[in-house]
């Protein structure tokens, strides 16, 4: 009976899950692209293919975001919940945007990561994407089991600090190396952008926590 009464809400919930699924696909394409880049260099065929895939998923996420907006303003949810969900989606949107930005940076600037920095860069990417996965779990918790939210937030916070630590190390190593100074600046920018993924995930995580706290009396 409740499913009939709250039909639009259920539709909205499904759209949010679809949005999260699209973000996950975008994240997978991003990882594949980076792996292709780290293993095979910039202009390999796979890299370009994964850029297109990442863009496609990011674009699909935007479309779902628009659908969610339209549905929410057709008398679904109370204004506070609408505002919270819109804010959350906008914050989440910044993550696939960053994926695309990083890949375009590598493509347009023809960046290659010197072998010496590859292991730590891979570690930075892995931990950053773990933060994104945890954010997805946190969104699921917000929509289903809110008791897990703080637990996920604490882990994301720890991982974000670890990312900052790895980022600093890589940058220090880059400037200690003898590579071309221009290349050093380009790599620094790239590493900072990758490090930014965990920062954004952390921001989304804190926002989810606030959304949950607002529903406590």
């Amino acid at each position: 009976m409740f499913k009939v009464l709250f039909k639009k809400e259920n539709q909205l919930k499904s759209l949010i899950f679809e949005y999260m699924q699209t973000l996950k696909l975008s994240q997978e394409s991003f990882l594949n692209a980076l792996q292709a880049c780290l293993l095979n260099g910039v202009l390999c065929e796979n890299f370009n293919f994964y850029i297109k895939q990442t863009h496609k998923h990011e674009s699909r996420a935007d479309d779902i975001h628009d659908e969610i907006n339209n549905l929410m303003y057709s008398k679904t949810l109370i204004p506070e919940s609408r505002g919270d969900i819109l804010g959350l989606l906008e914050a989440l949107d910044t993550i696939p945007d960053l994926f695309e930005h990083i890949l375009y940076m590598i493509q347009t600037q023809r960046l290659t990561i010197p072998v010496a920095f590859v292991p730590k860069t891979k570690e930075l990417v892995a931990v950053s994407l773990e933060c994104c996965e945890l954010v997805a779990l946190q969104v699921e918790a917000l929509l289903q089991h809110p008791d897990k939210i703080r637990e996920h937030m604490a882990v994301i916070d720890t991982k974000e600090s670890l990312c900052d630590h790895i980022e600093r190390h890589i940058i220090a190593d880059i400037f200690a190396d003898t590579i071309d100074p221009h290349a050093k600046l380009q790599l620094k920018e790239l590493i900072e952008a990758i490090g930014d993924i965990s920062d954004r995930a952390d921001q989304v995580s804190k926002r989810i926590n606030i959304i949950s706290l607002k529903r406590r009396v």
Binding site: L5, E9, K13, L77, I78, S81, L143, P146, S212, V217
Partner: protein, 312 residues
């Protein structure tokens, strides 16, 4: 039927104004469509008036003895007071306006039931205070249960929306039960109609006001209440309903607008937030003192004007 027109107009304006205190938040925030809210409010106002409206009618008709002419004068004076105060922009209570008008008649007749008047005045003071206390208590008790449920975003949203509509229905019932006396009690006192018929007619006129003219007021008042968080808004609506329901059991018509202010203050106190500006409080105080006074004076003036005789 003609003598009833003043009372019916008063009922219509009461419905148009006071439904906002009950369903304004839910309608403005689009939790419920206006027409659904209006129909629910109209149905429950009539139900409240018919089932529980007699106590208030007995209190008001007992304040003084009225003739039919005096009943018409008092209802017209009360309706004019409500209109004048609304035009001036002061918060106005139909209950205070009606009681002021009846006191005017009592002065003319040199017969005022001071014990009954004392009870009514005490309830006026008790309305915002009572709503404040009820809001404080409800906030904590319901909050405890709400927290224990550990609801997710969608569940929390659904619970608040459902409770808001149920609270609105309860509030509308209480409004009908409490305020029908303002509309029609003087005509019962004058012996024109019996209490049961009066409750039906009075409830009907309030319902008509809700159905025809409450939308703009709902949108204005509702926007002010929407600034509260959804849980606090729910508590305010529930506290208003409970407060006016309590006074309808006591048999004293009170102001739902004053109850709203008390409840908003109460919800704000829990969170340590100043939800009502000092200027608003002064306005309410001014309206509180002026409404019965103006209605009483208007009654005396109308009575005097009607009984003027030209002597060449």
């Amino acid at each position: 039927m003609l003598p009833l027109l003043g009372g019916l107009f008063l009922g219509w304006s009461l419905g148009a104004n006071d439904a906002a205190n009950i369903f304004g938040t839910a309608v403005t925030s689009r939790m419920i469509r206006f027409w659904k809210a209006a129909v629910l409010a109209a149905v429950f106002v009539i139900a409240g008036a018919i089932i529980s409206g007699q106590a208030g009618i007995n209190t008001l008709k007992g304040l003084t003895q009225l003739t039919l002419e005096q009943a018409v004068i008092s209802s017209v004076a009360a309706a004019l007071t409500v209109t004048a105060m609304t035009v001036v922009g002061l918060p106005v209570s139909t209950s205070q306006s009606m009681v002021g008008a009846i006191i005017g008649i009592g002065i003319i007749n040199q017969q005022v039931n001071y014990a009954g008047l004392g009870k009514v005045a005490a309830c006026w003071v008790g309305t915002p205070l009572g709503a404040l206390v009820i809001a404080l208590v409800l906030y904590h008790i319901l909050g405890y249960g709400y927290n224990r449920l550990n609801l997710n975003l969608f569940q929390s949203d659904a619970v608040i929306r459902t409770l808001m509509v149920l609270a609105g229905m309860y509030g509308a019932y209480a409004l009908g039960a409490n305020n029908v006396a303002n509309v029609i009690a003087v005509f019962v006192g004058a012996g024109m109609i019996d209490a049961d018929t009066a409750a039906g007619i009075g409830g009907g006129s309030i319902a008509l006001g809700i159905l025809t003219f409450s939308r703009p007021v709902m949108e204005t008042v509702g926007k002010k209440l929407v600034r509260l968080d959804p849980y606090s808004a729910l508590i305010v609506v529930l506290a208003v309903g409970a407060t006016i329901h309590f006074y309808s059991l006591v048999g004293v018509p009170v102001s739902s607008s004053q109850a709203v202010i008390g409840a908003v203050l109460g919800a704000g106190l829990v969170r340590g937030v100043n939800t009502v500006r000092r200027k608003t409080l002064y306005h309410i105080l001014a309206g509180w003192l002026l409404t019965p006074l103006v209605a009483c004076c208007l009654t005396l003036v109308i009575h005097f004007a009607i009984h003027l005789r030209y002597t060449p």
